[in-house]
Amino acid sequence: MDHKKFKFTKDHEWLNLQEDLAIVGITDYAQSQLGDIVFVEMPELSSKLTASESFGAIEAVKTVADLFAPVSGKVIEINENLDTSPDLINSDPYNKGWIVKLKINNNDEINQLMNYDEYQEFTLDN
């Protein structure tokens, strides 16, 4: 899947939308800023997330970053490979480094998100 078709948040997360499902990860820009990722704190399966609230954390060697829910929804799958290989987020952030799959509550929240070109511009401004 081409990540240029994904949606993006100001917290440097991406969403791959498939009807009412969204696969969520962090962007290549975010992983390069964090450096070597060593641990991902995941939400519980079936937990309900509220848009822009913290649902987990990414630990890099030097620093930790909160994961913020890009939209409200229910966690229906987590990437269990990250438990043993959190560095998949560094090596393949848009594919094997996905973090959670959500069932979206409210499609209106998606309209708040950036497209690829808008996100590129956003990271340049930062």
Binding site: V38, F39, V61, V64
Partner: protein, 363 residues
């Protein structure tokens, strides 16, 4: 204030380093990645630019007596060409800085932390008398450190001296590219290694020569892995584990605090602390997954007993490690405690230092 650049700034940019502002200097935090650089230092060698650190020269016929009064370690014990780890305290026994003293034939050099250069200099000036001269040469002297088991073989190719004769915490001077440079058997990684002190032209040349002659055995290494390497050895970092509110006894610096028949600035208070202190520095290894960080709370049965002063992921142990300051009565090797990480209690245990036990430091 605009941050300063070391003479190696352009080299770091050409090597694609990620640069950060550290103590007012633009410094490389990493080149290829912290884990890769860390592992390369442990298995082969890494080259660090630590030119941001400060150098203060103390000379004059009363220099030894003066430093004996200013420093917690016994400077009278060291000979010419010896280095000594030490610290300077205020009247309350709080740590102004930790440092290394080098005894040259005609003067002493104090190597201090970059963030404390002016504070150290001002404190020394305020306490000196007419028989002592103090110069801040931090802008003139640069440092690169080559660290790792392959460091001796690589550096030997560049200088005309048998480095196997240079013992731990000894140093020497040698000609290099038309000037005299200093090479000392010191470091902050727990591996065999050398620190090289030189002016701008010589530091750039030796940096390039080491990387060229190293033939892949030596990688440039950034401040990121410098921190993970020192953490694995339980070496304290000023600003984290040491500060003006901690005294050398609780901070784990008793081994360099020489109180017998000596009086130095802060010694009265430190003598009192020694009889009656409440906290102790301990090494903590995570049992649960999670990375401990500075200022996280340490608990036992839901009661706070201390806090983390430095924490990181350990690339050698593949787990979280930390230095913590806790109630000394609870500082027992093997005890299981909780670290509060984002409102969750994560189990850790007190271990005997250092975390990493296979360093080549003394080889």
């Amino acid at each position: 204030m605009k941050s300063k650049k070391t003479p190696l700034y352009r080299n770091h940019i050409e090597l694609n380093a990620k640069m950060v502002d550290f103590a007012g200097y633009q410094m490389p935090i990493q080149y290829k990645g912290i884990k890769e650089e860390h592992n390369h230092v442990r298995s082969s060698a890494g080259l660090f630019d630590v030119s941001h650190m400060g150098e203060i020269i103390v000379s004059g016929n009363k220099a030894e007596d003066f430093l004996d009064r200013m420093l917690i370690n016994d400077v009278k014990k060291i000979q010419t060409w010896d280095a000594q780890y030490s610290a300077m305290c205020n009247e309350n026994g709080g740590i102004i800085d930790d440092l290394i003293v080098y005894r040259y034939p005609e003067h002493y050099m104090l190597v201090v932390n970059a963030s404390n250069i002016q504070k150290n200099f001002d404190w020394l000036i305020a306490n000196k008398d007419d028989h002592v001269d103090i110069f801040n040469l931090s802008e003139k002297i640069n440092i690169v450190a080559i660290q790792g088991p392959a460091s001796r073989i690589i550096l030997s190719k560049l200088i005309d001296f048998d480095l196997s004769k240079l013992e731990f915490y000894k140093f020497m001077e040698t000609p290099f590219s038309g000037k005299i440079i200093t090479i000392s058997r010191t470091g902050y990684t727990g591996e065999l290694g050398y620190e090289i002190y030189a002016g701008d032209d010589q530091i750039i040349k030796i940096w390039n020569d080491i990387l060229n002659i190293g033939d892949g055995k030596v990688f440039p290494a950034g401040l990121g892995c410098r921190d993970t390497l020192r953490m694995e050895m339980n070496y304290p970092l000023y600003g984290n584990d040491l500060n003006e509110k901690t005294n050398p006894i609780e901070a784990g610096l008793s081994w360099i605090t020489k109180l017998n028949q000596r009086e130095f600035v802060g010694s009265n208070r430190i003598n009192m602390f020694k009889k009656n202190y409440t906290n102790k520095s301990v090494c903590l290894e995570m049992i649960d997954k999670g990375i401990p960080r500075k200022d996280y709370s340490i608990k036992l049965d839901n009661i706070e007993i201390g806090h983390i002063t430095s924490g990181t992921y350990s690339p050698s142990l593949s787990k979280g490690i930390a230095i913590g300051l806790i109630n000394k009565d609870l500082a027992v090797i093997g005890s299981v405690l909780d670290v509060e990480i984002r409102n969750k209690k994560m189990k850790c245990k007190i271990v005997k230092p250092p975390f990493y036990k296979n360093g080549t430091l003394l080889s």
